[in-house]
Symmetry: C2
Subunit: 356 residues, 2 copies
Amino acid sequence: MKAIAVKSGAGKPELIEVPDPVPDDGEALVRTLRVGVDGTDHEVIAGGHGGTPEGEDHLILGHEAVGVVADPNGTSLSEGDVVVPTVRRAPNGPNEYFERGEPDMAPDGQYHERGIVGKHGFMSEYFTSPEEYLVPIPDELAEIGFLVEPVSITEKAVEHARASRSAFEWNPSSAVILGNGSLGLLTLAMFVDSFDRAYCLGRRERPDITIDIIESLGGTYINSNETPVAAIPDVYGAPDLIYEATGYAKHAFDSVEALAPNGVAALLGVPGDWEFEVNGGKIHREIVLHNKAIIGSVNSHVHHFEAAVDSLQRMDDEFIDALVTGVYELDSFADAFVNDDTTIKTAVQFSRYEER
Amino acid sequence: MKAIAVKSGAGKPELIEVPDPVPDDGEALVRTLRVGVDGTDHEVIAGGHGGTPEGEDHLILGHEAVGVVADPNGTSLSEGDVVVPTVRRAPNGPNEYFERGEPDMAPDGQYHERGIVGKHGFMSEYFTSPEEYLVPIPDELAEIGFLVEPVSITEKAVEHARASRSAFEWNPSSAVILGNGSLGLLTLAMFVDSFDRAYCLGRRERPDITIDIIESLGGTYINSNETPVAAIPDVYGAPDLIYEATGYAKHAFDSVEALAPNGVAALLGVPGDWEFEVNGGKIHREIVLHNKAIIGSVNSHVHHFEAAVDSLQRMDDEFIDALVTGVYELDSFADAFVNDDTTIKTAVQFSRYEER
């Protein structure tokens, strides 16, 4: 079968031929429908993040997949079920985090991530997965099911952020999302329902397709060239929640001061090393005297995928149509990895739901 | 009646004469037994923190008090009840934070703190307080009731720290307390019960009375001159919880990296401005990839005072005896404000429980 992989050091994805996968006991065989592309894929391709499976010279890409069960192989799934796979797998037999259904909390060395580090991803015509890592979704989401994984990332981050504020009565009214990429926009589509005021910060100038989406959702665009993070309280009021999705480390530090009292910053971006000067005393003091919290969040587990299905069902078709700027067939797969100002979210199409 | 106050700019406390307080409706009159002294008092005296009530040139000190109800004045309290007052009061009539019993979550400008900022403290022979801010405690705690307030500070910080870890199964086994002052030692006395391993970091060399206490509690002393915060994981294993009580800002930043995966740092110290360089990218990345949390915590409310009473009752008498290095009568009150290597916790005695 065909697969999209990156060879070590190649710096770009290519179409390769690999043997059809054979499901083990407890695994189902899944025919791949679509697989999304995100910033992590670009980092993996560039070699800045992730790694190939042990002993191999290439990694099959893709961690945002949706497929159809082709062979239940004795599992409780049925042929034709539409499913979304979770991403983490235990490297050497199950460990405590996987056993309790929280692989997203496993530390370094106790997980592989399909399509990212240590285990092949889902960008192939078929893939296999243990049943417990396949989340059934409604048939009508078959086309956009590749958005379940990114939305699940936000479900987890928000769950942890809210938990950090659960020891008192927290009545947040405003949230700022740092980053107007596909994850930022998906998050905004969720936040416009749960906050009175929802903002999305980026560095694009008008006219811009992401700004159009932000405004059509009812959100407010913050141009970071005009209003840097530290200036947000003065211009828009101090937000109760900041969702950091850029991985720009200075944003994380500026967020602490920009937050309203009792607010929380959820960090999701993954920056490289970067030394800079901060007023560490002021940041520390601000966290203490205003009961602030900063939480980090990576990956997600089955419950977050299930919550993401609900969130995705509530989103407008028009928003999804604007967000997904391209779905590419295998013969033009390289277009799915182009990242320019006309690109928001892309996916590769491996097969169609209606096919048999 | 006699009171201990600091005049603006004086830099030291003095004994003054003030009129006896008269309770308003809903307030009880309390005869003061003992009032503790802590680092905040020293900051208030030095002028680095807090402020006098509006229109006055002095502030009566003291926020860690225990007393006996002298006149219930129509409240549900009874004469002779031993009570501990909470610290925050609403400045201009009740606001939402006070109404819901969470004055500790009120932002700047929406609270006064008795003995610290905007309202006189408890270092006087009598004080009055609305009934809802007087926490009854068992008679047998009358002598050490001035420790309820500092213990309540830890109850709140730990409640918020645990809340931040409540979205997953968190099984912490080790905690490091930064700071071997009285709050650090009281916290250690609580942590030796709830963590397999509890450490307390300071910069004292042996022989030292705080190190003796740490070891008699079953804790481990970490000498920061030998093992700075960043080196703790290598020497003692990465802690699940770090409790920062020094207000040394670099500790807060080093704590993020020292924490075990999924760990939480609770910050309580209040540093001044201090600019320094950090590897902000690494700190940000570490928070994200290992699901870490940092929470700030200030002040405490009635439920924390109630929890503190339980915690205090579980502490050994020997520990309390070693912790309280001096209780001084009014005629030698200045000794309670001496802070040297033989001092851990001091208090001023205003009257005795047995008196009438």
